[in-house]
Symmetry: C2
Subunit: 117 residues, 2 copies
DNA sequence: GATATATTTAACCGCTATGTTAATTAACCA
DNA sequence: TGGTTAATTAACATAGCGGTTAAATATATC
């Protein structure tokens, strides 16, 4: 078994699973509701498996309501990812500041060709 | 081939690769420098492969200097992850606000037991 | 009890990821 | 030229992922 963060990233490394999470930001949903948009591309058991991966990674929690299994998002792993990202934030923001600066030089070079009169 | 974000998350889903990235926040390093801390646990070709995964995911760039291959971090995929995370931020912060609120109720319940006079 | 709906489990398959060791390539040095 | 260091490639083993279909389980309803 892997460490928690690896498990989280592995769970996020699939577009179907990310779409499932995105759906859950709009509120709880049970398995068949979650599966519906994907049933042209894959079977229901495939979706069940994706949900199990998300559940094992604690990204979602499955509860019980009669024969339905409402799922909801868990915040903790997102927080963990955000915290892991933090040391890199300064780095990439700096990088985009540089892009910003570059774009400003381009703008100034093209001033005479500007659409505005 | 997978989509970019999946490739990024997959690359991050390994503790060795995350450690390599962490090392690179302290500046450029070539392959053997990067490998050194891991050579008790795995072979050099294994590290080479990890670096290739990071490179394919654009998380690092490998350049050339004689027989050395200095590696440096790329900001873009980190930005992409951060952007993907953004819709979830409010969600998990809210969740930790709730924790905060809970902790406050605990504090208030224990007011009489507080260390402060 | 029988049937319908919701979901999971089982058994299987093909592909890819991660590691190994041995060999190879590339660049430098003496 | 020959030797050393740096890094990659080749060939291979193993394990796990993501999908399938078919069967099983759970709950509600008639």
């Amino acid at each position: 078994m892997q460490d928690t963060l690896s498990q989280t990233f592995a769970a996020l490394a699939d577009p179907t699973r990310r779409a499932l999470l995105a759906r859950l930001t709009r509120g709880e949903a049970n398995v068949s509701e979650l599966a519906r948009p994907f049933l042209k591309e894959m079977s229901l058991p495939a979706v069940t498996k994706h949900l199990k991966v998300l559940e094992k990674a604690s990204l979602i929690t499955k509860t019980r309501d009669a024969q339905w299994r409402p799922c909801k998002l868990n915040a903790t792993p997102f927080k963990d990812v955000a915290d892991w990202m933090e040391p890199y934030r300064k780095y990439w923001e700096e990088s985009f500041d540089r892009l910003d600066a570059y774009l400003k030089t381009v703008t100034s070079k093209n001033k005479t060709k500007s659409k505005k009169p």
